[in-house]
C-alpha cells in the first residue's frame, strides 16, 4: 500500500487538475454562447441576400458567370476548418477522418493549426493555411474564401468544398463536407440561403409579385455577377462561425468530463488515504501495546 504521503501528493495534483479543467469549462461555456450568437447573427444577411437573388433570378437568363459553369473534376479544392488548439475531445480527429476518406486528388486550404499539421504530416497538398482566431471576422474568412475562389478560377482546382464540424447541438458536432463551387443554379442558392436564414421558402413567393417592375442599376446581369462572389464568401464565413461554435461546445463538454473524472478520482484517493492513515494508527497502537506487554 502506498504511503500516506504519496497519496496526499497525488490528491493535491488531481485537485489542481480539477481546478484547471473547471476553469477551462467555464471559459469555453462563455465563448460557446458568444460563438452561437455570432452564428445566428448572420441570419438577416442570408435572408436579405435570398430576397435580392430571388428578384434577380427571374430577370437574368442563366448567367455565364464562371461560378455556374460545370467542368470535369480533376482536382478537388477543399477548405478544411479545424481549431487552433486541442483539448476539445474528438472534434478535430473526427473531421480529419473525413479527410482521410478522400481518395481522389485534392488540394487543401486550411483554417486552424490542427488541420495544417495533419495535412503536412500525411503529405497531402497544402495550398495555404490560415490561423483560426478566437473571434472569427468576416474580413479574415474573406481572404481565405477569395484565395480559394482564385485557385478555382485559375483552374488549379475544379471544385471548392468545405469540411467543418457542423454544429448540431452542444453535445453533437457532425463532421460535414459541403460543395460550394461550382454552384448548381441560382434557385439552389436561394433555397440554401433560406434554410440558413431559418425561414420557410414560401415567404419569397409573395415578394415577387410586388417587384414586377424593379429597376436594376447598372443592369441585372452585372448585379448578379457581383452578388455571387459575395454569396460564396458569406457561405464560407457561416461555416467558419459554425465550426467555432462546435469547437467551443466540444471543448466545454470535454472539460466537463475531465472535471467529473477528476472529482471521482479524488473521492477514491481520499478513501484510500483515510484507510492508509487509519491502518498506520492501528499499527502504532499495536506496537505500543506489544511493547507494554513485553515490559
Amino acid at each position: 500500500m502506498a504511503s500516506t504521503r504519496d497519496i496526499r501528493r497525488r490528491i493535491k495534483s488531481v485537485k489542481n487538475t480539477r481546478q484547471i479543467t473547471k476553469a477551462m469549462e467555464l471559459v469555453a461555456a462563455s465563448k460557446m454562447k458568444k460563438a452561437q450568437q455570432a452564428a445566428l447573427s448572420g441570419r438577416p444577411y442570408a435572408e436579405l441576400m435570398a430576397r435580392m437573388l430571388g428578384a434577380l433570378a427571374d430577370r437574368v437568363e442563366e448567367s455565364h458567370h464562371p461560378f455556374l459553369a460545370k467542368r470535369d473534376v480533376k482536382v478537388r479544392g477543399i477548405i478544411l476548418i479545424t481549431s487552433d488548439k486541442g483539448l476539445c475531445g474528438a472534434l478535430n480527429s473526427n473531421v480529419l477522418k473525413l479527410v482521410t476518406d478522400i481518395k481522389t486528388p485534392a488540394k487543401y486550404a486550411v483554417i486552424g493549426r490542427k488541420g495544417a499539421q495533419f495535412i503536412a504530416r500525411t503529405r497531402r497538398e497544402l495550398l495555404a493555411d490560415f490561423p483560426a482566431n478566437d473571434r472569427t471576422t468576416f474580413a479574415d474568412i474573406k481572404t481565405v474564401a477569395e484565395f480559394m475562389v482564385k485557385q478555382f478560377l485559375d483552374g488549379v482546382v475544379d471544385t471548392v468544398e468545405v469540411i467543418w464540424p457542423r454544429f448540431r447541438n452542444t453535445l453533437a458536432q457532425v463532421p460535414t463536407i459541403m460543395p460550394i463551387l461550382p454552384l448548381s443554379s441560382v434557385k439552389d442558392v436561394i433555397a440554401d440561403l433560406h434554410s440558413d436564414a431559418g425561414v420557410v421558402a414560401s415567404a419569397s413567393t409573395n415578394v415577387k409579385a410586388v417587384d414586377s417592375q424593379m429597376l436594376f442599376e447598372p443592369d441585372p446581369a452585372v448585379v448578379l455577377d457581383a452578388l455571387l462572389p459575395l454569396y460564396v464568401n458569406r457561405e464560407i464565413y457561416q461555416h467558419a462561425l459554425d465550426a467555432k461554435a462546435s469547437e467551443h461546445s466540444a471543448r466545454m463538454v470535454a472539460m466537463k468530463t475531465a472535471k467529473d473524472n477528476a472529482t471521482k478520482l479524488l473521492g477514491d484517493l481520499t478513501l484510500e488515504y483515510n484507510k492508509a492513515r487509519q491502518a498506520g494508527i492501528t499499527q502504532e497502537i499495536l506496537e505500543i501495546a506489544a511493547a507494554q506487554f513485553a515490559a
Binding site: 471576422t137 429597376l215 442599376e217
Partner: protein, 135 residues
C-alpha cells in the same frame, strides 16, 4: 409615409429604423431615396450614407455591397457598415497609416492582398471623412 431602413453586414444588423429619406452611394452616383421610390436593386460603393429622420441627418460609413428598395422598405447589404458615433478616429487613422505603409513597402505583393489593402484604405478614408464632416 415613412421609409424603413435596414442595414446588415455578415456580422450583424447595424441599423434598423424608420426614416424620412436616405442617400446611398452607388456605383452610378449617389441615389436619394424618398418614400414611394420605384423598386430598385443596385450596387453600393464605398462612401457615406446619409439618413434623415425628423430633420436630423445621421451619417454612416459603408463599404461595397448592395441596396434594394422595395415598397417603403430599403435594405442595404454591405460588407462593412459603421455609424458615425462608433467610428474611433484614432484607431482608423492608425489602421490607415499601417495599410498605406504596407502598400508602399511592398511593390510585388499578390494582387489579392493589394486589393484588400486598397479596400481598407478606402474604407478608412470614408470613415474619417464621415467623422470629420461635422467640424
Amino acid at each position: 409615409m415613412a421609409l424603413t431602413l435596414e442595414i446588415v453586414t455578415p456580422e450583424a444588423r447595424v441599423y434598423s429604423d424608420t426614416i424620412d429619406t436616405v442617400v446611398i452611394p452607388t456605383t452610378s452616383g449617389e441615389v436619394g431615396i424618398l418614400p414611394g421610390h420605384i423598386p430598385l436593386l443596385t450596387q453600393v460603393e464605398h462612401g457615406e450614407l446619409r439618413v434623415t429622420k425628423n430633420g436630423q441627418t445621421s451619417l454612416l460609413a459603408v463599404s461595397g455591397g448592395f441596396a434594394q428598395v422595395e415598397g417603403d422598405r430599403v435594405h442595404v447589404l454591405a460588407e462593412h457598415a459603421i455609424t458615425e458615433e462608433k467610428i474611433d478616429e484614432n484607431a482608423v487613422e492608425a489602421a490607415l497609416k499601417r495599410a498605406e505603409e504596407q502598400l508602399k513597402a511592398a511593390k510585388d505583393i499578390d494582387p489579392q492582398q493589394y486589393e484588400h489593402l486598397q479596400n481598407l484604405v478606402r474604407y478608412s478614408g470614408v470613415q474619417l471623412a464621415v467623422k470629420r464632416r461635422r467640424r
